[in-house]
């Protein structure tokens, strides 16, 4: 360990470690719209960290010194990359401080992907730099490349947990390859010593192999002693075996979780899919919606193949009755001839002049999706499904007539129309009483007056149904916050009042509350309304199909407007549903510099297809504005967890190295003492290695026992030969220690040379000799989890008196 590695030997692993870390940060690309703004600086920092680390270790500097150099030089580079000033002092510091502050506020204010202008990148650069330092310190400084997988995993896993998306397979593969390479380099230096080619400790291959280039000139450049020492093993056969082992291990790591049904692991899109218990069973649509949105994992439920460029708002069911406690689907009486056999269906209430575009959809439900309601795109013009699915003309719902008929595993086709509604025609339409069933305007008696008052107040100035609906929608989108947390579930009257009331806990909710509140307020205004439950927007797969998953479940209100029929609105704030229907867009967006306009105008990668296309953000997104924090406010989910995770990791590393530090302190203190301290240190060093230390034995007998445990440090065999003759230097040192101890304890006046540094040097030599005789794991444990710390220091162990008591 103390031998200096060659330049190549030190540099190649350092570069490999930095490269692996940098590659892992590619999984952060989803955080911003322009990932190269942090990937380039990180590449520079990676090279810097690797060069300083590799060269520092090659020149024999201690690991802490190397780390210090990396931190100092890295800080200069970070300062220059972020602010343009080489040193973060004076104005440079102010700029850096401002940059980081801006990045933190950007992390709190925006959900990913954060616009490039928001200035999030400094945070990513800093985080990436720490990761580079950590990986280099663990893999290079501590020489534990296997442990370096942990920080790499954090780098890789944080975006998965925040973005909810999976990084590309090649990022994973690249990191895995680089890390496996690190392991290979580490192990090969050991392996190289097993065979005939011996390493003289300086990384220089011994004479036998140097002769080879002369015999084979063609291989000189490749297999020269300096080039080969970095890759200790030179045999192609061994390399091939190592490659095979590495590849096999990675493949196994991917394949085993995928083949175990008990583990719901989805690595690189492989895996068993949702297990039996993860099924979505839709009985009461609203209850299921609530449950599914709060699920821990996002289960894919439906696949859609269509010519529709944006197959959003797949409706599962319609709730048309508002009772005191909740919205329900009401009573349905469906004739037996209304079955989903592909017959053409009427689109109710739509003016004849409205342009229509018909799209065809082929839907396939996964086994995990078990619903007694058949999802369709409203308004549907035809539905063809196997099984007894009946439709209700008033709502357009398809319901399973058989008790045990569900959508699980079902494939069905449907066609729907997209209405090209003109805003002006909508605005001018006048409500026609009696156009729809009165159930769509019924409200229970116990709805408080404040709901109606609020509805009228919000829609003040609007007389037509459409204008009132848009006003309601905009009011919700601008004044409410979206959150799944800390919201009492339910959509009854009490929850409605709590939701609508401003103040603590009010005006925060999720789609269920938004949809039901808007529907109730619409009914207060006399507009027929209902709540639709379904899926918001799917994610397009590589093969062109679309996939809905549990997190896509959504609820929205549908209002009946003359000329247009049942029209969908979107009161849920833009953090969840970024777009409103085109016909319902605010007429003068410039006049409303609020979240609605701002967020819906925000360019987003997914929304580029259509302006009203909602994002497919499946997780809880942060609020668009840095709202005043409240006690129960959910912390800004952005990059704060990255920071937190990294800080936690650093704390963990600190915690893990605490025992070693305490032990080193104790050792240092003792080695400055006298023979008794040296003896105690020898005892602890022996116990740390997991070797027995006979309590209550004389120094001489302890010396004999330890002497039989000594081994040659250069003996690299699994089970080194033990005995004092294996390590004469340590045996002599042990003899001196025993003799000093005996003189100190038993000679007249504690005579003997009780001072000086030879004793402490002897302790080190003996402990090294003992360490050479134990397994690597024991040496590791002695270093990081010294068990002697668990004993009370400087006291006579209780075990000393035990035997004497037993004698009697």
């Amino acid at each position: 360990m103390k031998q200096r590695p060659g330049i190549v030997t030190a540099l190649v692993p350092a570069l490999l470690a930095a490269g692996a870390t940098w590659l892992a940060t590619w999984s952060w690309r989803g955080f911003t719209t322009d990932p190269w703004q942090h990937l380039w600086p990180l590449a520079v920092l990676a090279v810097l960290v690797a060069l300083v680390g590799g060269l520092g270790r090659a020149s024999g500097l201690a690991s802490p010194v190397v780390l210090l150099g990396q931190v100092v030089l890295g800080a200069v580079a970070v300062s220059y990359l972020l602010t343009g000033a080489w040193l973060p002092v004076g104005a440079g510091w102010d700029t850096l401080d401002e940059t980081v502050r801006q990045a933190v506020s950007a992390a709190q204010a925006y959900g990913p992907p954060v616009p490039a202008e928001a200035g999030l990148d400094p945070l990513l650069v800093l985080s990436g730099w720490w990761c580079l330092l950590l990986v280099d310190a663990v893999a290079g400084g501590l020489g534990r490349p296997a442990v370096a997988a942990l920080p790499l995993l954090v780098v890789f896993a944080v975006p998965v947990s925040i973005l909810g998306s999976q990084p590309e397979w090649w990022v994973f593969a690249g990191v895995a390859v680089a890390w496996t390479g690190l392991l290979f380099l580490d192990a090969s230096s050991d392996v190289a010593r097993w065979g005939g080619v011996l390493d003289d400790g300086d990384g220089r291959v011994a004479a036998a192999s140097v002769d080879e280039p002369a015999a084979e000139p063609g291989t000189t450049t490749v297999h020269g002693p300096r080039a080969s020492d970095a890759l200790g093993v030179r045999s192609a056969g061994v390399r091939a075996t190592a490659l095979g082992v590495g590849t096999g291990a990675v493949v196994l790591a991917l394949a085993v979780p995928a083949s175990l049904p008990a583990l719901d692991v989805h690595l690189l899109d492989y895996g068993p899919g949702a297990g039996g218990d993860d099924g979505i069973s839709i009985e009461n649509p609203m209850t299921d919606l609530r449950r599914d949105l709060r699920r821990r994992d996002d289960v894919p439920l439906l696949d859609v193949r269509t010519d529709d460029p944006d197959p959003s708002y797949l409706r599962v069911a319609v709730l048309n009755r508002f009772g005191a406690n909740e919205w329900t689907s009401g009573d349905r009486s469906i004739p037996t001839d209304q079955v989903a056999d592909g017959q053409p269906l009427d689109v109710a209430g739509v003016g004849a002049t409205v342009d229509r575009t018909t799209y065809r959809y082929q839907l396939e439900a996964r086994d995990a999706f078990s619903s007694r309601w058949l999802p369709t795109y409203a308004p549907a013009t035809s539905v063809s499904a196997t099984g007894d699915w009946r439709f209700d003309t008033a709502t357009g719902d398809f319901i399973a007539a058989d008790e045990d008929l569900t959508t699980a595993g079902l494939t069905w086709s449907t066609s729907g129309v997209e209405l090209d509604l003109e805003q002006q025609r909508l605005e001018s339409a006048v409500a026609v009483p009696g156009a729809v069933d009165p159930i769509f305007t019924e409200l229970p008696d116990n709805v408080p007056g404040m709901v109606g008052d609020l509805a009228r107040e919000v829609t003040q100035g609007q007389t037509r149904p459409f204008g009132q609906a848009v006003a309601l929608q905009d009011w919700f989108r601008q004044n409410f916050d979206y959150s799944l947390e800390n919201v009492p579930p339910g959509n009854g009257v009490d929850e409605l009042v709590a939701f609508l009331s401003p103040g603590e806990g009010g005006r925060v909710g999720y789609c269920e509350q938004f949809a039901s509140a808007m529907a109730v307020m619409a009914r207060e205004l006399g507009i027929p309304s209902r709540v639709a439950v379904g899926f918001l927007s799917p994610e397009q797969q590589r093969d062109g199909t679309w996939e809905y998953s549990a997190y896509d479940m959504h609820a929205w209100p549908e209002l009946y407007l003359p000329y247009a029929g049942w029209v969908r609105f979107e009161p849920t704030p833009p953090t969840r549903a970024s777009g409103v229907p085109s016909y319902a867009e605010p007429t003068a967006p410039d006049a409303q510099p609020t979240a609605s306009a701002g967020a819906s105008d925000t360019p987003s990668q997914q929304a580029s297809a259509r302006p009203d296309r909602p994002t497919s953000e499946p997780t809880v997104a942060p609020r668009p504005e840095a709202a005043t924090p409240t006690a129960d406010e959910e912390p800004g989910v952005g990059l704060a967890p990255v920071l937190g995770g990294l800080l936690g990791l650093v704390a963990l590393v600190g915690l893990a190295s605490a025992p070693a530090w305490l032990r080193a302190r104790r050792r240092h203190r003792r080695l400055r003492g006298g023979p008794e301290d040296w003896w105690d240190e020898l005892a602890d060093g022996t116990r740390d290695l997991g070797l027995p230390w006979p309590d209550g034995a004389s120094p001489r007998s302890v010396g004999a026992l330890l002497g039989s445990r000594l081994a040659d440090p250069d003996d690299d065999r699994e089970r080194p030969v033990l005995g004092p003759e294996q390590n004469p230097e340590a045996a002599a040192a042990l003899g001196r220690l025993v003799s000093r101890m005996e003189r100190s304890r038993y000679a007249r006046g504690g005579s003997g040379d009780g001072s000086g540094t030879e004793g402490s040097a002897d302790v080190a030599v003996v402990v090294d000799g003992l360490a050479a005789g134990v397994r690597r794991r024991a040496r590791w444990a002695a270093r990081w989890t010294p068990r002697s710390l668990l004993r009370r220091s400087g006291s006579t162990p209780a075990a000393d008196r035990g035997p004497l008591d037993r004698v009697g």
Binding site: G696, A697, S698, R700, Y746, A747, D800, P803, L804, V807
Partner: protein, 343 residues
């Protein structure tokens, strides 16, 4: 042989009067080790392959104790004693213990001198520097106790006159195993007076062969030349008594003996005199190693030889096959060495 007492060297045994003689030679510890090494070498020319026995004899000599040699006849018990005595230029007497041996044969007797018309003391066999008591367990208990009294008190009192025995004074008593016919077992109290007991054992084949060769060529004992004298041995004994016994070692000695007293398998443990003997023997062993301080390891090494013959096992232990040596081994393994960190 009209008397059981024979003198093999320096027949002019003096009934020396007065107290112990002061050492007229001064030796430091390095000399002790050197001289002892010479004596050991000399004795080993006669007794082949018994280094441990010879060392024990030297330890007992330097610690001014007495040695009990126990074994079947013909293994060299007497030869050892004689060789030791011959190596030191000092007086040696051999007393063959028989059932009809009288106490006065050992101590000496006052005889009325008709010419001088007064009583004259005729010293017994015990008046010598090295006394070899052969087959001590064949004598009557009365005679045994007369010898043991002299051993302990290093003086002889006859007719109200006390005669001191000259230093060095060592009794090397040999004893046949108790199973043999016509023996009176030494009582526990008397075994306690011997500092150490050794068992000669049969020589290994090569040693026996060498013995045969050397003995056929003549009397090897007769060829032995003294390598030291009584005065030098006295000085060595004085030097040994100055060897430092640290507090942890003292506590260790007490720990060992007190542990034997409490052990369930022992009906009789080691006496306080045994503790003293152990420490003194430890001093001698340390001096033989050229050390001026006693190690716990010295006591551990000597304990089987110093303590075993004093221990009496219980009937249960004997039935269970646990003899005194095995029990002592367990005691030694259990008693911790004080580590010097205080009490």
């Amino acid at each position: 042989m009209d008397s059981p007492v024979t003198t093999t060297s320096q027949p002019d045994a003096r009934p020396a009067g007065g107290a112990r003689q002061a050492a007229d030679v001064h030796l430091d510890l390095a000399d002790v080790a050197t001289v002892a090494g010479a004596v050991r070498q000399n004795v080993e020319r006669v007794i082949e392959g018994k280094t441990e026995i010879v060392d024990t004899a030297l330890v007992v000599l330097l610690a001014e104790g007495h040695l009990l040699v126990e074994d079947v006849p013909g293994v060299g018990k007497t030869m050892l004693s004689k060789a030791l005595a011959r190596s030191i230029d000092c007086s040696v007497r051999r007393i063959q213990f028989t059932p009809d041996l009288l106490p006065s044969d050992v101590t000496g007797v006052s005889v009325y001198d008709q010419v001088n018309r007064r009583f004259e003391f005729r010293p017994g066999g015990v008046f010598a520097n090295v006394v070899v008591g052969d087959e001590i367990n064949r004598a009557s208990p009365k005679t045994q106790s007369a010898l043991l009294e002299c051993m302990e008190e290093r003086q002889v009192t006859v007719d109200n006159t006390t005669y001191s025995l000259e230093r060095p004074f060592i009794v090397v008593a040999t004893q046949n195993p108790l199973e043999m016919e016509g023996t009176y077992a030494l009582p526990e109290a008397q075994r306690d007076r011997f500092m150490a007991r050794v068992s000669m054992g049969y020589p290994v084949e090569n040693a026996e062969l060498a013995m045969v060769r050397s003995h056929t060529g003549g009397d090897p004992l007769g060829d032995l030349e003294p390598v030291t004298d009584a005065a030098q041995v006295r000085a060595m004994c004085d030097a040994v008594s100055g060897v430092y016994v640290s507090d942890p070692v003292q506590r260790y000695a007490v720990g060992i003996t007190s542990a034997t007293r409490r052990h369930a398998d022992l009906a009789l443990g080691a006496s306080p005199r045994a503790t003293l003997h152990l420490v003194r023997a430890g001093q001698a062993l340390a001096a033989l190693s050229g050390r001026d301080y006693v190690l716990p390891d010295d006591l551990t090494e000597l304990a089987p030889r110093v303590l075993t013959h004093r221990l009496v096992t219980t009937v249960e232990a004997t039935m269970g096959g646990r003899d005194a040596g095995a029990v002592l081994g367990r005691v030694l393994a259990a008693v911790p060495v004080p580590d010097g960190h205080g009490a």
